[in-house]
């Protein structure tokens, strides 16, 4: 029996509640034992971990909307059979945006210069490099630009989702053509905003400014691709889940194959950007630049540094290379989970060396917040999916998706 409308099953609800419960408990314990602790290091751990998770998951769910807009702009039709899935994921952007803003408010107005050095006004006065960057790295611009970025993602994303609902109604050829143009225009607007935020300024502000003396022109793309691969993997997880529960009748192995190609190709692209950033700095060997890699490659983060490469490059590259593995539900699910965790670790090594220095910890709190976010994703995506029919049956491109063949 093929079902048009997603209904949250009892098992799904149970797992959501378990994850939310465990994660919520970790957050509460974290606030009590870490956030309100007298120990400076524990406080830093609390805020750094919140920052890492909130930024990572916000960018990951936002990558779904990037996928929708990029395929819309390219007049792609193959994704129509499952497009409601990334739509539901992207409806999390406002939620995770608010959570991230709460963390930013806590960090910036709590003057946590252990997270962002440039929050220390006195230090900035005596530091010519930070002084020179203070037009960009200051609390006002940070907060305003973060609010603007999250607001624009949420607004244009909501517009795209609303447009998608229109395709539930019948439309004739002329209406369909107009509809496609309207979609393209809004998709293009989103991509421009995306380029100005995720593609450049936002990773500089949120993550690169943890090491404010250092800079890399590759950083934003690298961060974006990291979140995009994880975002595609998240889409795969939900598509496979729905497929296993007799939803999404038009999704075949062909669609899954193409999603697998996205995971494969962008894992390789991530490596390309990782390597481009690393190689130039390694080769030039200028102290201002190598300062970023020194603690990561030679300090306590050495294990994580190489784990990052193995999990995010070697494993997906070798395992996803075969055609059969991109069409196999089990391999794809395994790799999707691995890639999401891998890029979570990638964000971990972006945030921690600059904040925690050598006192890093990867324990109950870090994984607890990860579990909390997993629960939030399951809860809100489940809700988003159950609101609308799972396929926009009257979208002009739906036929293209049904007969899709790789």
């Amino acid at each position: 029996m093929i079902k048009q409308q997603f209904e949250i099953s009892a098992g799904y609800k149970k797992w959501t509640n378990i994850l939310l419960g465990v994660g919520g408990l970790a957050l509460v314990l974290g606030i009590i034992f870490l956030g309100m602790s007298k120990d400076e290091v524990e406080q830093t751990r609390f805020w750094a971990s919140l920052l890492q998770n909130s930024v990572f998951f916000l960018l990951v769910v936002n990558a779904s909307m990037f996928f929708i807009c990029a395929t819309t702009l390219a007049h792609g039709g193959w994704q129509m059979a499952f497009r409601r899935v990334p739509e539901a994921i992207s409806s999390l952007v406002p939620v995770f945006g608010i959570l991230a803003m709460l963390v930013f408010v806590g960090i910036v107005f709590g003057h946590r210069h252990d997270i962002y050095h440039w929050l220390d006004k006195e230090h900035v006065e005596h530091d010519p490099i930070l002084k020179g960057k203070s037009g960009f790295l200051n609390p006002t611009f940070f907060m305003v630009w973060s609010v603007v970025a999250i607001g624009l993602w949420s607004f244009v994303g909501a517009k795209m989702r609303k447009l998608s609902s229109e395709a539930d109604e019948k439309m004739d050829g002329e209406q369909g053509a107009k509809y496609v143009v309207k979609n393209t225009a809004w998709g293009a607007a989103f991509l421009v905003i995306f380029g100005l935020t995720v593609g450049s300024t936002i990773p500089w502000l949120w993550l690169m400014s943890i090491d404010p003396h250092w800079y890399s022109t590759m950083y934003s793309w690298y961060t974006f691709i990291s979140s995009f691969v994880a975002g595609m993997s998240l889409v795969v997880l939900f598509v496979v889940y729905l497929k296993n529960h007799d939803y999404l009748e038009y999704v075949t192995e062909e669609h899954l194959h193409d999603l697998g190609k996205f995971m494969f190709a962008f894992s390789v692209f991530w490596t390309y950007l990782w390597y481009s950033q690393f190689m130039l700095i390694w080769y030039a060997n200028i102290p201002e630049e190598t300062v970023y890699f020194k603690p990561r490659m030679q300090g306590v983060y050495r294990g994580i540094f190489f784990l990052n490469l193995i999990v995010n490059f070697a494993v997906p590259f070798l395992l996803l290379m075969r055609r059969g593995s991109k069409r196999n539900y089990t391999t794809l699910t395994f790799l999707a989970i691995l890639i999401i965790l891998g890029h979570w670790v990638d964000f971990y090594q972006m945030v921690m060396p600059g904040t925690m220095n050598e006192h890093y910890s990867l324990g109950w709190f870090e994984f607890g917040i990860l579990v909390l976010y997993a629960g939030l994703i399951m809860h809100f995506v489940g809700k988003g999916l159950s609101k609308k029919p799972l396929v926009a049956l009257h979208h002009p491109y739906i036929k293209e998706s049904i007969i899709h063949h790789t």
């Binding site: 390597y275 190689m279 390694w282 060997n285 075969r322 063949h405």
Partner: protein, 194 residues
């Protein structure tokens, strides 16, 4: 270089070709090959050909390239002619990655092309028989070899009945080395309808 007899059926359209392919397989005939003006999606599956192994070959060729690049550079820079370049270690793996990558891609690509030519029995000096000149333009040309099981006259009338526009018999040379692609056709099976 044995001469063999083939029955050739020409189809104007994919829409006629696909049902015809199915009927030919159901009747138990084996294809020599089908020549199409452009790559037709799903035709290999419809013909019952097994999945190609060219990607496995490509992977192996790529590995050969990777190994060659890494071992050669290691030998040059650590054993044969160690030079201090910018204070870098002699075994400077990050600096070698572009060359390793390029040699991998080169070996995989060239190796796959050569393998493909070998399997399809193509070579610059070799003249292959064309069953129909329009196969490179707009005609789908199905070729079936005559054998004890495949009688020429029966085949001709059969191909006509499944929608071939033009049917004729041609005597041509088969390939002159061990290409076995056309012998690896699976028997017809009813498709699974899930």
């Amino acid at each position: 270089m044995a001469l063999k007899k083939f029955v050739v059926g020409c189809f104007e359209d994919e829409k006629v070709l696909f049902p015809a392919v199915e009927k030919v397989r159901k009747a138990g005939y084996k294809f020599h090959d089908i020549y199409t003006p452009f790559p037709v999606h799903g035709l290999d599956k419809a013909m019952g050909l097994r999945d190609t192994s060219i990607h496995t070959a490509g992977f192996l060729f790529g590995m050969i390239g990777t190994t060659t690049a890494v071992t050669f550079m290691t030998w040059v820079f650590t054993k044969d002619w160690p030079v201090n370049i910018g204070g870098k270690p002699n075994f400077a793996l990050p600096a070698w990655i572009p060359i390793t990558f390029e040699l991998t891609v080169l070996c995989a690509a060239v190796g796959m092309v050569l393998t493909f030519c070998y399997i399809c029995q193509l070579a610059p000096f070799l003249k292959r028989h064309h069953f129909h000149p329009r196969a490179t333009d707009d005609l789908f040309v199905m070729v079936i070899e005559c054998s004890e099981k495949a009688n020429e006259e029966e085949l001709k009338s059969f191909l006509g009945s499944v929608g071939a526009q033009e049917v004729n018999t041609q005597v041509a040379e088969e390939g002159w080395w061990i290409g076995k692609y056309d012998e690896e056709q699976e028997l017809y099976k009813e498709p699974n309808i899930a």
